[in-house]
């Protein structure tokens, strides 16, 4: 095993949470405090609950929720989860495998910490921190407090960010000191196990000057039909000259309602890239805010959705250029089958004085059925001159000639279609330029295709 590969640490930290068998509905109040939580954390939890109670429920008439099926956001039945059963736990640990090489790994289920692979010693010695949030709150209180949920939920979900604040307990804190580079990605798993459980996954990543880090989060369900609710927040901070890559693979089961609120701050000469792969969930909304605050900052926003049945994927983005000489590039692609729906609401905003901005935004929808619906709202707000901005949105279908070519070679129709869709999506994966993660994403997409192909075969 190479020196920079994670080693498994058998920690029994999970036992502390085992002594907490009561479940409460998430609308009955903020999560209960644990004795070692700092006072400021308890206070912001109270504050979160107050804000959540005061803010109005979104309606489709609110511009940030236009086209969105807000009716699914009835949260009354969801409750905090217990540590999963021994059986489920064993299954989770066995299946929390994604990449061949990693720097470290954290596994959570029902918002309980299960297990982790700690970072190799060399990285720990150079000051890299990778800990469950609860532990970081006591061991690195100053750092966590400085960055914890300091970025606004500016894209419509302020109410749900407040709910997250009131309930958050599971998640990861990652800190990479100046000049340190991690060759292999950090992996974080969040699982939903029982009926009507709500989870609030949290990620706080701070990459100090000129450091390099890649983090991949996996959202998964133990079982295929149990209802659930996920309301995650992640904050990424790319310090001067840092390079941060964030990948999320969302594979909740198709009865889960999920909200994910991402915010990234990119400082001078730093570069941030995010890729969200959305496969699961009944309704999955993901908001991505990218704030380019220092000159020379660059942000790449990538997303892929493969929607089938009655799934709805609702993506909202803001490329917020606050400094001159900044660059952002967004590419979102959706493939829609059956009665699925997608929504893209994106905005490039160039603030006054943010001259010499380059900003691009492109959304492409591939409609594979007559009942699928793609909504696109690509927006621009430009308050500075000397900028280069463009956006484009297209909606179309599989090229008939391409189909004919594949069919004439004896490839079954569904497979041919899937090949074309895979090709359509591959451009986005290519932008990541990480073959290890790229292959994993392709495998996950192929998995979902396999289900559809089996279904089609049975139907035929």
């Amino acid at each position: 095993m190479s020196d920079n590969t994670a080693v498994l640490e058998h920690v029994k930290e999970s036992e502390a949470s085992e002594a907490q068998p009561t479940t409460r509905t998430i609308l009955s109040g903020p999560a209960e405090d644990t004795p070692d939580q700092p006072t400021w954390f308890r206070q912001q939890r109270e504050q979160g609950w107050q804000d959540f109670s005061l803010l109005p429920n979104p309606t489709r008439k609110d511009q940030p929720w236009r086209f969105s099926n807000v009716d699914v956001l009835n949260l009354a039945s969801y409750q905090s989860g217990n540590l999963p059963s021994d059986h489920d736990r064993a299954q989770i640990l066995e299946q929390s495998v994604a990449l061949d090489g990693k720097s470290g790994r954290l596994i959570f289920a029902n918002d309980h910490f299960l297990e982790r692979d700690v970072l190799p010693e060399s990285l720990r010695k150079s000051g890299v921190i990778f800990q469950p949030l609860e532990r970081a709150l006591t061991e690195h209180e100053g750092l966590v407090r400085r960055y914890f949920m300091t970025q606004p939920a500016a894209l419509g979900s302020a109410k749900f960010a407040a709910l997250h604040r009131a309930h958050v307990r599971a998640g990861a804190f990652v800190y990479v000191p100046r000049g340190v580079e991690l060759d292999l990605p950090i992996e974080i798993f969040h699982w939903l196990a029982d009926e009507n459980v709500a989870v609030f996954p949290h990620l706080l990543l701070v990459a100090d000057e000129t450091s390099k880090v890649t983090v991949i989060e996996h959202f998964r369900s133990v079982e295929k039909t149990r209802h659930g609710f996920a309301c995650g927040v992640n904050d990424l901070i790319a310090g001067h000259g840092a390079t941060v890559k964030y990948v999320c693979t969302q594979r909740w089961n198709e009865n889960v309602v999920a909200l994910q609120i991402n915010a990234t701050t990119v400082e001078r000469d730093a570069s941030a890239m995010s890729l969200n792969l959305h496969l699961g969930g009944a309704y999955s909304r993901f908001e991505s805010l990218s704030r380019l605050v220092g000159e020379g900052a660059r942000s790449d926003l990538l997303a892929l959705s493969v929607a089938h049945h009655k799934q709805e994927f609702d993506a909202r983005t803001l490329q917020d250029h606050r400094s001159p000489h900044t660059t952002s590039d967004l590419l979102y692609k959706n493939a829609l089958s059956d009665r699925s729906r997608t929504i893209f609401g994106g905005l490039i905003r160039v603030e006054r004085h943010a001259h010499f901005t380059d900003a691009y935004q492109k959304v492409r929808n591939l409609l594979l059925s007559d009942d699928a619906e793609a909504n696109s709202m690509p927006g621009l707000e430009i308050l500075a001159d000397n900028v280069k901005c463009s956006h484009g949105a297209t909606s179309g279908q599989v090229d008939e000639e391409e189909m004919f070519y594949l069919l004439s070679r004896g490839i079954p129709e569904i497979i041919a279609k899937q090949l074309i869709v895979a090709g359509f999506l591959d451009e986005v994966i290519g932008r990541l330029s990480n073959s290890l993660i790229g292959q994993h994403l392709r495998d996950l997409i192929a998995d979902k295709f396999r289900l559809d192909a089996t279904r089609a075969a049975i139907a035929a």
Binding site: A374, G379, D385, V387, A393, Q397
Partner: protein, 471 residues
């Protein structure tokens, strides 16, 4: 031969519209909005009962609807509906002969060059002064073909069988707050009917003029073009600069029956205190074509999104839009394309220029519902920013269902390149001239599609606006 006056026929730049006369109004509904005002308007106009009822219902709808400030400019809150006069007229019937028009109103329109227009080439002219049409004429040849071109009041009285069938059908009262307002207090505007197969060679034209301070103009235009017929309609608008805000809220409905073609051209040059909140929509039946050419140069805030409902198979809708937002102006314009049948196509081309503190916004809606086949939409929005304080926004919303349709949207934002300006200055042009040439180049491919008189006029307007925008 036309005499050379100080204002040439096609010239409607801002300084020329900036004058007003003290006019004695025979009918004045007073300020504010109530059942009493609506009844007053109905009394003066001797509305049939169904129109009076339509107005009163619309007033209720207007009062019940909130301002659309959750998405639109907060500047709308600056409109004080209680300070506005909803109806002003001199109380004399519409004149057929230019000589019969009262001297003071004649002076106004002569400064705007209306009779000259008519002499030159127009098939008909209708001129509206505040609430009512003061002058309306249609060339004999066109009238003999059965074309009807009258004010909306006359239309609903003399041609109820056509008028009532389509009135309020393309844009229902409750479409938005301002269409409801218009439906309650509408007055003036044009009613046009073109019989089957008649192709009106020359454009029909209307001028709208606001003369009184604190006045709201609410004209209502309804154009019905029967099977296989064609018409082009042009409107121009001016108002003097008063110190307080003025409201213009029109509703324009177009109906193109099977195979008909309508081209509707607007050059909006209201003065910079006018709130211009207009609802315009066309209904295109099978193989019909509706084309909006929309130039917005004046006003304080314009909110206008001409739309086409593509109801019939193979119908076609088009919006060509140019907006020029100068200091303190907000041009919030765009287009709506609602596809409702197979093989329908729509095209939206929008170009905007923001100067000084001006703000240009494109807002668009493209809707392709399910189970339609072979629908196409193409949208292009280009914005040009002239100064560091200028602003531009693009907010399209596109919904596509099902396979077999193709929709694309593209937008870009750019500025005049320093290199271009430098190159032209090298050849002896001043910076202002160079800038103006670049801007004209930017809109050129769109302007070329306009009728000649309008493209010349637009070029001149752009040159005027660009003077003093640099440095």
């Amino acid at each position: 031969m036309a005499t050379q006056t100080e204002t040439s026929a096609v010239d409607i730049d801002r300084s020329i519209g900036d004058f007003h006369y003290d006019v004695h109004y025979g009918h004045d509904a007073g300020v504010g909005l109530s059942d009493r005002v609506v009844n007053y308007i109905s009394d003066v106009k001797q509305d049939p009962d169904w129109v009076r009822q339509f107005r009163l219902n619309a007033l209720k709808t207007f009062l019940s609807k909130p301002m659309p400030t959750h998405w639109a400019s907060k500047d709308l809150d600056a409109i004080v509906f209680d300070n506005i006069r909803y109806y002003l007229a001199q109380g004399t019937p519409t004149k057929r002969n230019w000589e019969d028009v009262p001297e003071d109103i004649k002076r106004t329109f002569e400064r705007l060059g209306i009779p000259e227009q008519e002499r030159k080439f127009l098939a008909g002219v209708e001129a509206q002064f505040d609430s009512e049409a003061v002058y309306s004429n249609i060339k004999k040849a066109v009238g003999e073909q059965g074309v009807i071109f009258v004010g909306s009041t006359e239309g609903l009285k003399n041609h109820p069988e056509i008028f009532r069938k389509w009135f309020g059908k393309v844009i229902p009262t409750g479409d938005n707050k301002f269409s409801a307002l218009n439906s309650a207090v509408f007055s003036g505007g044009s009613f046009i009917y073109v019989p089957p197969g008649v192709k009106v060679k020359h454009p029909l034209q209307a001028y709208f003029r606001i003369n009184a301070e604190n006045f709201g103009q609410f004209e209502r235009t309804l154009i019905i073009v029967d099977e296989g017929a064609e018409v082009t309609y042009m409107e121009g608008c001016t108002a003097p600069k008063f110190n307080t805000a003025t409201l213009h809220s029109a509703v324009v409905e177009l109906v193109a029956l099977r195979g008909a073609k309508i081209q509707y051209i607007t050059v909006q040059n209201w003065s910079a205190n006018v709130f211009n909140l207009v609802t315009k929509r066309g209904l295109a039946h099978e193989e019909a074509e509706i084309k909006w050419i929309d130039c917005n140069i004046g006003s304080r805030l314009t909110m206008k999104y001409p739309g086409v409902v593509l109801k019939g198979r193979k119908s076609r809708g088009e919006v060509l839009s140019i907006a020029l937002a100068g200091n303190g102006q907000h041009q919030d314009t765009g287009a709506k394309m609602i596809h409702g049948a197979d093989e329908t196509t729509s095209n939206i081309i929008s170009k905007s220029i923001s100067i000084g503190t001006g703000r240009a916004t494109y807002r668009g809606l493209v809707h392709v519902p399910k189970h339609l086949k072979h629908c196409k939409n193409n949208t292009e929005c280009d914005a040009l920013l002239i100064n560091a304080t200028s602003r531009t926004d693009t907010y399209p919303a596109i919904t596509v269902r099902g396979t077999g349709n193709s929709v694309q949207h593209e937008a870009s934002v750019s500025q005049v390149s320093a290199e271009q300006i430098f190159y032209m200055q090298q050849r002896g042009l001043s910076e202002g001239q160079a800038m103006s040439l670049s801007v004209n180049g930017f809109v050129n491919d769109l302007v070329r599609q306009f009728p000649m008189e309008y493209s010349v006029e637009l070029k001149r307007l752009i040159e005027l606006e660009m003077e003093g925008s640099v440095g």
